[in-house]
Symmetry: C2
Subunit: 352 residues, 2 copies
Amino acid sequence: MTDTPKDRGVLILAGGRGERFWPWSTAARPKQLLPLAPGGRSLLAATVDRARRLVPAERIVIMTAESLVEACRREAPGAIVVGEPVMRNTAPAIAAAAAFFGPRTAFAVLPADHAIEDEAAFVADLDAAFGRAEREAVLVTFGIRPTHAETNFGYIRRGLAIAPRVHRVAQFTEKPDRERAEQWVASGEYAWNSGMFVWTRATFMAALAASRPAIAGQLADLSFAPSETSAFEQALRERFPSIESVSVDYAVLESAPNTVVIEAAFDWDDLGSWSAWARRQPRDSRGNVCWGDAVAVDCDRCVVVGDGALAAPLRLQDMVVVATAQGTLVCRIEDSEHVRKVSEAVRARGSA
Amino acid sequence: MTDTPKDRGVLILAGGRGERFWPWSTAARPKQLLPLAPGGRSLLAATVDRARRLVPAERIVIMTAESLVEACRREAPGAIVVGEPVMRNTAPAIAAAAAFFGPRTAFAVLPADHAIEDEAAFVADLDAAFGRAEREAVLVTFGIRPTHAETNFGYIRRGLAIAPRVHRVAQFTEKPDRERAEQWVASGEYAWNSGMFVWTRATFMAALAASRPAIAGQLADLSFAPSETSAFEQALRERFPSIESVSVDYAVLESAPNTVVIEAAFDWDDLGSWSAWARRQPRDSRGNVCWGDAVAVDCDRCVVVGDGALAAPLRLQDMVVVATAQGTLVCRIEDSEHVRKVSEAVRARGSA
C-alpha cells in the first residue's frame, strides 16, 4: 500500500446482529442494513456517504459477517467489503482490517449503525482527528456531550486539556448504573463514548501489542492490496478461529496511556432501540411516527412500522407496533430496549 | 319437494362480511369461515355440525354471497349451498331460501357465525321448537337469558306464558343504550334475541305477506328441488336487485302477532368481537389466549393470534394482537368492538 500522510482510510464495522430492531432486523438484514437513515437509506449506506466526505470509496474498508458481504457491497459501491468467518468482536476486527492500510496511514473506525445528522461538523471533527493522529502517536476518540443519564452507553472521563475541545483521556468506563450515570453527567467531566476512533495503523498495533500481544502477534504481519479480499478472507479463516474475542474498548483503550478525546461538535446516537430511532423521525399531528405500510387509528405518540406487512393499531398511546414478514412486535415505547427478550423467545421456539 | 311433518329443514345464513374480526377476516374468508369454533373448525362448519344433529345434510340450505359459495361448500359437504347475487339482508334471504322447503315444512334459521357449546340442550330446544311450529302457526324465536347489560344485542320482552320456558312475545327491540339495557336486564322480563328462529314456510310467508307484501309477492311462487341450485340462483339474479333490503326482525318479527319465544337452555354468543371470542378460549397461566403463531413475552390477559404471520407482544396487559398476511391489529381488549374503524381506515387508503 502507498503510505503518505494524506493517504487516509476509513474502516466501517458492519458485523452487528442488530437484534434490538427485531422483527424488522433479521439475520440476513440486521440493523445496519435497515432503512433507518434519512432518505430511506440504510444506516450502512448513510455511514458510507459520510465516510466518502473524508476519503474516496476505494479507501473505505467494510468488515462484516461473511453472510452479509454481498448485501454490504450493494450498499457501498467501490468500497472494500470483507467478511469475517467467525465474529471476534472489535479488537481483532480492527487489527485485521488495518492490513488494507499502510503502517503510517491514519484511519477512522466507524460503527455502521449509528446516526449523525450534522455532516459538516462531523467532517470537520474527523479532519482534525486525522491531522492529530498523523502528527502524534495518539489514539483519538470522540466524546459526545451527554444530554441525559444514559445507562446504555460507555463514558469517557476527560483529563488534561491539550487543545480546544481536545483532552487526554483520564478513564474509559463500562455502562454505568442509573445513579452513577447521573453523577457523571452532573459532574461535567464525562462524555459518552461514541465508538468512533482515529489512529494510524502503527499506533494502534503498538497499543494492541502492549495490552494483547497474542492478538497483535497473530495479525501484525498481514498486508493486502484493495483487490486482495479473497486472500484476506482466507487469512482470517486460518487465524480468526483461535483468536480471542474482545472489544477494542476493553482490550486497548482502557489501558492505553496515549488516548485523547475530542468533544464532538456533531450530534450522535447509536440508535439502540425503537424509541431512539423514533426520536429522529418526522411525526404526524398526533405525534405518531408512521413508516411504510402503517395505519394508526386514533393513536397518539406511537411508533408504527409496516414493511412487507400492514401495521394497524387502534386507540393506542406510546406504543411500538412493527409488522414485517418475520413477525409483529408490540410493546410500550419504554420497553423497546427489551426487544431482545422477544427475539430470544421466538428463537427458542424455533420460529425465526 | 316432499312435505311431511317430520320433513324438517335448516337454513343457515352465511352471507355476513364479519369485519369485526379484521384482519383475520377477509372478503374471501369472513368471520363464519374463520377457525373460531372449538377443534379448529370454522364457525360455519360448527353450525353445520349442530344442524346435522337436527336434520340430514341434504335438508340443510346455506345462503351466502355468490363469491363465498365454493368456500361454504367445502365446509358443508352434502348441503345445498346457494349464493345471493346481491345482499338483501335476512328477510328476502329467508323468503327466497324457503323455496327449497315445502309449504308445511318447518325449518330452523341459524346464523352461521354464532357460538354454542351445549349441543345436547340445543338439540332438545330446537326439537321442541320444530314440534311447536309444526303444530301451530307460530314464529318461534329463542331468547337467551342475559348475563349482563349488553348493548350490542336486540332484546325480546316476554309476554303471556304458554308452556314451561315458552312465552308469547310482547315486544322485539333494537339494540338499547346502556341505561335501558340495565333496566331491561334488572326487570327479568327481557331476553337477548339470538337471531335463531323456527317456523314453517307457510307461516313465515303469511307473516311476510302481511308486513311486506312486495317482498312476499316477488318470492312466494319460487319452488326448487335440492339439485336446482343454478335455477334458484338465476331466479335470484332476476328478482333480488329490485327487492327491498330489510332484516327479518324489522320486516316480520316486530309486527307479527304470532311470535313466541323459547327461553334457551343452551349457552349462546354471537362472537361480536375479539373479546367475545376470547372468553370461550383456553388461557395460559397468565391469562393469555394464544392462537397459532403467537409468542406472548411477559404478557397478561392478552389475546394473541398469528395466522400466516407471527404475533409477538412484549410486557402487555389486556391487549389484542392479531397478525395475519392481511395486516396486524393492535388494540386494548375493551376497544375490540371498534375494530371496524380500522378496517374502514385501511380500506380508505386502498391497502386491503
